[in-house]
Amino acid sequence: MKTKLLLLALTTIGSGALCAAEAPKVGAPAPAFSLPASNGKTISLGDFRGKYVVLEWFNPGCPFVQKHYKSDNMQQLQNQFTGKDVVWLTIDSSAPGKQGSLTPAEANKQIAEWKMKSTALLLDPEGKVGHEYAATNTPHMFVINPEGNLIYEGAIDSKASTDPADIQGSTNYVKAALEEAMAGKPVANAKTKAYGCSIKYDH
């Protein structure tokens, strides 16, 4: 009896640990979350049922992120899809004291400097949502469909580099996923290997 209880306890702990580490799968429901935005509002994923949602992991000090912002590539993409009623959430999971960690004021300054067009810049200094999604890179992109399921996870585009010149001639996977899904087609590249800097988590 004792052994059985012990086994049960071990199994429970084990599976708990596994679940925490498990990344959401493409096709499965995207984990719910609530985070403070730089503008002071609290944003919940659940608020956007019925809309496409893009999650973009962000660190302004990362050269891969800079590649897409300083070339205006990211802003154009944000502008194009927020214009189509897509919710674009930029998330910063850098831990305090590490590269990319932003106070709300610094975040707002960054939005202004780079003319960011995302719906909101969310601050996740404890890395909770980052871990929930098993996000590893900046930029790391996720696309969620109106039913709340993950339909894309991975890189922003097909050329892993820090050279802005590579943007032209690369396939933008986020754009492709959104356009395919909106046209009722299956997403051809639903999962790619994200490229970029590691997210500067605390743990």
């Binding site: 050269p63 070339s71 890179n137 802005p164 999962k191 490229y195 590691s198 997210i199 500067k200």
Partner: protein, 712 residues
């Protein structure tokens, strides 16, 4: 857009090198960030001069500031690999980048990356054209990397190297190159690929490596090399109790046909590269598509066939082959049908033995035992039984006794009476094959090494190919008996030949006794000889007192006495006395040969000496032949001395498991095996063929020595 790009370049300027392409001479280019040099990049070569047409190795040397790292070809969860784009004069060729074994680093948030700290040399082979008209060549390349500590900064540099063109290449940067060559993963030996097994579940791959010592080693890891679009999670080691290492590699994205991955099996400072073949379609056995893998199989089956054919000419088979030729002479007068029947029966005997051996090996393998060619000779009781069989045959040939068959069959010599026929031919086939086993003929080593690593079906096929090769000449001769027209007519001379063959068999017996002596000491030899003496007496009694003329009672009595004599002496001499002898310390590794241990090999290589490693066994005639005719010849001995090459011998007579393992690393399951480790490239050992010649060995020794001399 353009202004943005400009802005980006400007803001990155302090992160990038300052002087790229501005000044011509300095070879090292740096990446400076916040006034600190993060990465110094330099192009180096292992030669000071370029010889037209002669390949050499060049490398991109990256020196990182303390704590910073650049990335491996598979960067892991984040980061990008270092890239190099060459700008070479026309006609030059560049080989693939050789990546040293990386470190696995874990960052907060369970982010695993693979990269290099301190410094790394990324090597590539460059091949100059056959003709170079300029007095010097300028090799230029653009390198791109990402260097990270707490933050990541991309870097790049235009590096170049100017080398004079000369007739003779002069080594350069030897220390640096040898340090990083040591850190290159080694390719997985074909035999070891037997121990590697992949299986695929929908969302994960399981890699099983059946290797006891690896299972016991600490810090064994698997570094995957997934090819897009395959995406892997973090490999994790699964605990097993059965002496194998199991890695589970989660698949986040993979097509259905992804059955395996390329990658490194890392243990401490060493790593084996699984190689490209794993990256596509699993092992040959699992690959249902005919292609490269089955081509390889066909080629190796052909090797098996040729090897089987050559077995006929091996010294250990010589007495039996003489007997068979003799048998054909006797058959010459028979009807075609009968001759062909005998040929078939002989072939069937050969096949039966190989088939039995194959089934036994498959059974042993499925029971998880290590299997090796000629493993039965490592069992002393098998050698005792062989000795008894050989002696009885010899006595039979001498005419000490004859086998009397019931039902009025004419008496004849055991095994090859022309009238007695098929059973005898069959038995001869078996006998010839048993004797052939200790000689691993050329071609067989490779073929068997391959087969033992494969599925049961392939082991079976391989053994059948060898059987076919060995029996082919007999079958052809018996199918075309017209070719026998050239041999003399049967006559009284045959009795003399028969007796002479008996002496050949006795010579074989001497060899077997020596094998026993080496394995178990001189006492073992004498106890076995005592048993053989009793056996001889038994045969003599059979021939003298149990004749067809004797009464039934006498015959029965004699048979009982013989049984008592043979069983009794067998029980006493073999069961008691012989069994009590201990496995002797190897007497093969005497003289100026150092007994092999992996530690000793490593220490000799670490001391910068070249090592010649001889895998041998007392019962291996090919080994003995090579040793006597080549390795111990005056010319070769003095060459060893002159070049200061360490001679090391691995005695496999008693199937030492450490040696078995080492053999398997070279894809072999038997001896002989000759390996030369050049001091300059100790992790690129050279495997010599199974049949040595003086010229060949001298050649290899000299080239190893030249390389050493060139280094110094």
């Amino acid at each position: 857009m353009v202004s943005n790009r400009m802005a980006s370049l400007r803001s990155l300027a302090n992160a990038l090198l300052l002087a790229a392409g501005l000044c011509a001479v300095p070879a090292a280019r740096g990446q400076v960030f916040d006034g600190r040099q993060l990465v110094e990049a330099k192009l180096v070569a292992d030669t000071a001069t370029v010889t037209p047409g002669q390949p050499f190795t060049a490398g991109l040397l990256l020196k990182m500031a303390p704590g910073w790292h650049t990335y491996w070809q598979f960067p892991g969860d984040a980061g990008i690999p270092t890239e190099i784009k060459w700008n070479l004069p026309p006609g030059w060729k560049v080989g693939p980048m050789q990546w040293p074994i990386p470190l696995k680093l874990t960052e907060p948030g369970d982010i695993q990356i693979y990269g290099y700290h301190d410094e790394v040399l990324l090597m590539m082979q460059l091949t100059p054209p056959l003709k170079i008209t300029t007095p010097a060549v300028k090799l230029a390349a653009a390198a791109d990397w990402l260097v990270c500590e707490k933050i990541c900064i991309p870097g790049n540099a235009n590096v170049q190297l100017e080398l004079p063109v000369g007739g003779e290449s002069t080594p350069a940067n030897q220390e640096l190159f040898s340090k990083f060559r040591d850190r290159l993963p080694r390719s997985l030996p074909p035999s070891a690929s037997a121990a590697v097994h992949w299986s695929r579940q929908p969302n994960e791959l399981r890699l099983t490596i059946a290797d006891r010592s690896l299972a016991q080693a600490s810090g064994v890891d698997f570094f995957p090399l997934p090819v897009a679009p395959t995406i892997t999670g973090h490999p994790r080691r699964e605990q097993t109790a059965d002496g194998s290492v199991v890695f589970v590699i989660p698949l986040e994205e993979a097509a259905k046909n992804v059955q395996s991955l390329d990658g490194l099996i890392v243990s401490g400072d060493h790593a084996f590269s699984l190689g490209k073949k794993w990256a596509t379609a699993g092992s040959a056995a699992e690959n249902p598509v005919p292609g490269a893998a089955s081509d390889g199989l066909l080629k190796l089956l052909l090797f098996g066939f040729i090897g089987g054919f050559i077995l006929n000419l091996m010294p250990c088979v010589l007495p039996v082959i003489s007997l068979k030729i003799f048998g054909f002479i006797q058959h010459a007068g028979d009807s075609r049908k009968r001759i062909f029947g005998n040929g078939l029966a002989f072939t069937a005997g050969i096949f039966a033995w190989f088939l039995g051996l194959a089934l036994l090996m498959i059974a042993l393998k499925s029971a998880g035992r290590e299997i090796t060619w000629a493993f039965q000779f490592t069992n002393p009781y098998f050698v005792v039984a062989m000795s008894a069989v050989v002696l009885v045959f010899a006595l039979n040939l001498f005419g000490v006794f004859e086998i009397t068959l019931p039902a009025g069959a004419t008496s004849g010599l055991l095994g090859w009476s022309a009238r007695e026929g098929y059973a005898g031919s069959f038995f001869q086939g078996v006998f010839a094959t048993v004797l052939a086993t200790p000689c691993t003929a050329p071609y067989l080593g490779t073929a068997l090494g391959f087969a033992f690593a494969q599925s049961a079906a392939i082991i079976l096929l391989m053994f059948l190919a060898i059987a076919a090769g060995m029996s082919a000449p007999y079958l052809l001769l018996s199918a075309q008996p017209a070719w026998l027209r050239f041999v003399p007519r049967p006559g009284p001379w045959m009795v003399r030949v028969k007796q002479f063959m008996g002496f050949l068999l006795l010579a074989t017996l001497l060899f077997l006794l020596w094998v026993l002596g080496v394995a178990r000491g001189v006492d073992a030899t004498i106890w076995v000889s005592a048993f053989l003496l009793a056996l001889s007496v038994g045969c003599w009694m059979l021939g003298s007192f149990s004749t067809p003329a004797a009464s039934r009672t006498q015959r029965s009595l004699v048979l009982v006495l013989i049984l008592l004599l043979v069983l009794g002496s067998g029980f006493y001499f073999i069961g008691q006395k012989f069994a009590a002898t201990k496995t002797a310390a190897s007497s093969l590794t005497n003289g100026d040969w150092i007994p092999f241990t992996p530690e000793r090999l490593q220490s000799e290589l670490a001391a910068g000496r070249s090592v010649f490693l001889d895998f041998t066994a007392a019962w291996c005639i090919t080994c003995k032949f090579n040793e006597a005719a080549v390795l111990e010849s005056a010319a070769v001995r003095s060459a060893f001395e002159r070049y200061g090459i360490v001679k090391m011998k691995a005695d496999w007579s008693n199937a030492d498991p450490v040696i078995t393992k080492t053999l398997k690393q070279f894809g072999r399951v038997g001896v002989p095996l000759y390996v030369l480790y050049p001091a300059t490239a100790p992790n690129q050992p050279v495997v010599l063929p199974e049949l040595l010649t003086q010229a060949l060995v001298l050649d290899h020794l000299q080239s190893a020595a030249t390389k050493v001399a060139a280094t110094k």
